[in-house]
């Protein structure tokens, strides 16, 4: 009997908690069209977790990755929330590389 699972669960909650400001600030300053980059960071992080020997660190990096993957699916809806006035709207966002290609893709949403 040990508390590894409960500690990991609580740590996951805290890491996912970081996802809220990540999505809100990320969308405000960069815009939702950065979603493929956020998704990519998430997948790279989860892949990197496979090569980390320490269990707790592997879990932290894995969960951090899934937070980025989840965040990428929230960006579009967050952009609509700012347009509705539920969050501050910023008209001068930093455009992502390959913006025109990304615009043709359907942003993920769950």
């Amino acid at each position: 009997m040990n508390f590894f699972g409960i500690t990991i669960g609580t740590t996951t909650l805290l890491i996912i908690g970081l996802g809220f400001p990540l999505v809100i600030r990320g969308e405000r300053h960069l815009g939702y069209l950065w979603w493929p980059y956020m998704l990519g960071i998430g997948f790279i992080s989860i892949f990197a977790s496979l090569f980390i020997v320490a269990n707790w660190l592997s879990v932290v990096i894995g969960v951090l990755g899934s937070t980025f993957v989840w965040g990428s699916t929230e960006l579009k809806e967050q952009a609509v929330r700012t347009e509705l006035g539920w969050f501050p709207f910023n008209g001068n966002k930093i455009k992502p590389p390959f913006e025109n290609i990304i615009k043709k893709w359907r942003a993920p949403h769950l």
């Binding site: 009997m1 699972g5 409960i6 669960g9 996951t12 980390i52 609509v80 347009e83 509705l84 942003a107």
Partner: protein, 137 residues
């Protein structure tokens, strides 16, 4: 290769996804929010207990994450009801609790104002409705 990070990542992603969808659907259908809240708390505590007593690390990790997700979902039922009151999530007029909210709060709506793509500028209340109405046809 250490698979424990992948186990945690997949568990976190899918349990949060499932919880996200379940909270919205159950809150919309349930006449009370305290019943689903209590059920989620009990299930969350059971999952945490199982995580505590199992020795198989992947299962211990997954149950630990699922349990905390369920405990958070318990809280989300109240947060979702607040979204319904503010009109940030669509209310279900066939649910007597939501019908009461619709009658008492002018902000509440049956429309899902988020069900569209961003257009790149702030919209008025009328335009917000127009945009989702256009999407439906």
């Amino acid at each position: 290769m250490n698979w424990i990070g992948l186990v945690a990542a997949l568990t976190a992603f899918f349990s949060i996804w499932a919880g996200h969808v379940a909270v919205r659907k159950i809150e919309a259908a349930s006449r009370t929010i305290w019943v689903p809240t209590v059920i989620a708390i009990v299930l969350g505590l059971i999952a945490e207990y199982c995580s505590l007593v199992t020795n198989y690390l992947p299962l211990k990790t997954a149950l630990g994450i699922i349990g905390i997700t369920l405990l958070w979902d318990a809280l989300e039922f109240t947060r979702q009801q607040k979204r319904i009151i503010k009109g940030h999530a669509p209310s279900n007029p066939n649910n007597p609790r939501h019908a009461k909210i619709l009658a008492e709060h002018k902000t509440a709506t049956t429309l899902d104002l988020l069900k569209r793509d961003p257009i790149g500028h702030v919209v008025s209340a009328d335009e917000a409705i127009q945009l989702i109405t256009d999407n439906w046809h």
